[in-house]
């Protein structure tokens, strides 16, 4: 991999730089992302802790359920299945919410932390472009956290099912309802789709904004990220008595318009029609705004030194 040093001609002209020995961009990207995971172990530890706490709570509820199985739950009742379906949703929501919070704090610190601890001087001494660095940092909330929370959620739900089945075996609770009512595959598919589209694509401008603030803020990136939207919304309300800014924020934070649920027996698969999502203009303007924020963050990283 290394050019033998004596192979370089003794009299090399300054007008012809040494032919660059290349490392493929994919390899640089791979190591940059791994670097992020080394530094921020909270990316996977925090969602795992959330999953662990959830499993513990679930275990307690199942033990309770078993004790009262004779009185509270009649054999074959659908109530147990309903309770479990609720638990799945809570598990998914808990892990997704945790991952979202991790993503926000990660993005805010991503380009600020390296300036604060001066390590940016080390990273910049290596042949890694600012674009690669910023994109590798964007990868974490944009791709890694959604996929990770999907994997952890599915694993948690599976463990939950196994645990409950083992504990409730012979208690009279209808176990088959657990497995069929859960429709494991459908739920997982909807979850993955939701994570990739909403947490990845729809929230992209939010991550872009956080990275931009992180690249720019002289101190307190958290304040710089959250104060301007509040101030602008407040000023708008006072000056014009309108709420466009607030509506815009709500629109972005609440996620894209989902198709109306059709009663309790709604078809999960209806969520999965990409047409509903990809035809929303909000998605594309969001992506454009995210691209602008990220481009600005790349440019800023070039100018910013340690603070």
């Amino acid at each position: 991999m290394n050019t033998p040093s004596n192979a370089v001609p003794e009299f090399s002209s300054h007008s012809q730089p040494v032919a660059p020995a290349a490392v493929s961009p994919a390899r640089v990207m791979y190591w940059s992302v791994r670097r992020e995971l080394w530094e921020n172990r909270s990316i996977y530890i925090v969602p795992l802790i959330a999953a662990g706490i959830f499993l513990l709570a679930h275990l307690i509820s199942v033990v309770f359920l078993r004790r009262h199985a004779d009185t509270a739950w009649r054999p074959g009742s659908a109530q147990a299945g309903d309770a479990f379906a609720t638990h799945y949703e809570i598990a998914a929501a808990l892990i997704m919410g945790t991952a979202l919070i991790v993503g926000i704090f990660y993005s805010l610190d991503a380009l600020y932390g390296e300036r604060r601890d001066r390590s940016v001087l080390f990273w910049k001494s290596l042949p890694v472009s600012d674009l690669t660095t910023v994109l590798s940092k964007l990868t974490v909330p944009f791709i890694i956290l959604p996929l990770l929370s999907f994997a952890i959620t599915v694993a948690t739900q599976f463990i939950m099912l196994l645990l409950s089945s083992a504990l409730l075996l012979g208690s009279g609770v209808n176990l088959s309802a657990l497995w069929t009512g859960a429709s494991f595959f459908h739920v997982s598919l909807v979850l993955l789709y939701h994570l990739l589209t909403v947490h990845g694509l729809w929230y992209a401008p939010i991550y872009g904004w956080l990275l931009l603030v992180s690249a720019w803020a002289p101190r307190a990136p958290f304040l710089w990220a959250f104060m301007p939207p509040f101030v602008i919304c407040g000023l708008e309300k006072i000056a014009f008595n309108t709420t466009h800014c607030l509506d815009l924020l709500k629109y972005r934070l609440s996620g894209p318009n989902a198709p109306e649920p059709q009663g309790p027996g709604m078809d999960y698969m209806a969520h999965l029609i990409p047409q509903h999502f990809f035809t929303q203009p909000g998605l594309w303007t969001g992506m454009l705004v995210a691209a602008i924020f990220v481009a600005l963050a790349v440019r800023l990283r070039r100018y910013q030194g340690p603070i």
């Binding site: 791979y30 890694v128 472009s129």
Partner: protein
């Protein structure tokens, strides 16, 4: 000889402060240049411009590239230690090796492992667990394992004790420098550097005050410990500085006749530190006088 750095009217202004006042710089391959100046003289600014860390005015080519526009490409051939203790505190030694091996095309892992095996640094340690001297050793091991053409060191030994400082420069000279690489080092601890430099550059308030090779310096500047009865005669030869050590007067001359000086006392080559104090001191008082 191929030129490694070519700067023309290099200028950098921060707000109203002129950090670099249009300097010209020409560094050839195979030199070890010491960049010496008081705090705030513009040393770090000059080095940062060379490394593509800050934008600048004027022309600057490093290994034929524009550092500001092509920093990442340039960093394949240029290594730098910008400051002591810039390695992130969470990084493990093994991770540092993995990462640099992963992203740097000219990194020789075996070499870095070899340097590290001479130290007491454990592979599993995090940077925060290492002493300041060990962090410097680790950083140097990483940098020396990169087959770069230009190495820039900005105050690389600040805050290290004398043993580490000596070891640092010894390994740099013995295990890294091969006569074809170029090294630029800025430091305050000039005495320890004296014997490894080939070129010397004094910089003060954004301007180059003195630039010469060590041989030129040695033939140009002479220091005489003057016998008491001949002090007046020596002063008549217009020394650039005079100081007293243990009651003896030591006068420093620029471009003087060695024979003539030998008649006044013991002639020797001045240390860089004394030369620095004399030249920078004169530069400061000279410009104050000019301002009046």
């Amino acid at each position: 000889m191929a030129s490694v750095i070519e700067a023309h009217h290099l200028r950098k202004v921060y707000g109203t402060t002129v950090a670099l006042d249009g300097i010209d710089l020409h560094v050839e391959e195979g030199r070890i240049l010491g960049l010496i100046g008081p705090n705030g003289a513009g040393k770090t600014t000059a080095l940062n411009a060379i490394l593509g860390l800050i934008p600048y005015e004027g022309q600057l080519k490093v290994l034929g590239r524009d550092p500001w526009k092509e920093r990442d490409e340039l960093m394949r051939d240029v290594s730098f230690i910008a400051d002591v203790a810039v390695l992130p505190r969470w990084l493990r030694v093994s991770q540092a090796l993995d990462y640099v091996e992963g992203v740097h095309p000219r990194f020789d892992r075996a070499k870095a492992e070899g340097f590290l095996s001479k130290t007491t640094i454990q592979r599993g340690s995090r940077v925060r667990e290492l002493s300041k001297g060990m962090v410097a050793q680790l950083h140097l091991a990483l940098i020396m394992a990169i087959d770069a053409r230009l190495l820039v060191l900005d105050e690389p030994t600040l805050g290290l004790d004398i043993l580490y400082r000596k070891q640092f420069y010894d390994s740099l000279l013995n295990d890294y420098f091969d006569g074809r690489r170029t090294i630029i080092v800025s430091t305050h601890q000039v005495e320890e550097l004296q014997h490894i430099l080939t070129d010397l550059m004094f910089i003060d308030r954004g301007r180059i005050v003195l630039s010469c090779s060590m041989e030129e310096c040695e033939s140009r500047y002479m220091e005489v410990m003057v016998r008491p009865e001949q002090v007046a005669a020596a002063r008549a030869l217009r020394p650039i500085s005079e100081r007293q050590v243990l009651g003896r007067n030591i006068l420093l001359f620029d471009h003087a006749d060695r024979q003539q000086l030998a008649a006044l006392g013991d002639v020797r080559t001045p240390g860089i530190a004394d030369l620095f104090v004399a030249v920078i001191g004169n530069h400061a008082s000279g410009s104050v006088g000019a301002a009046k």
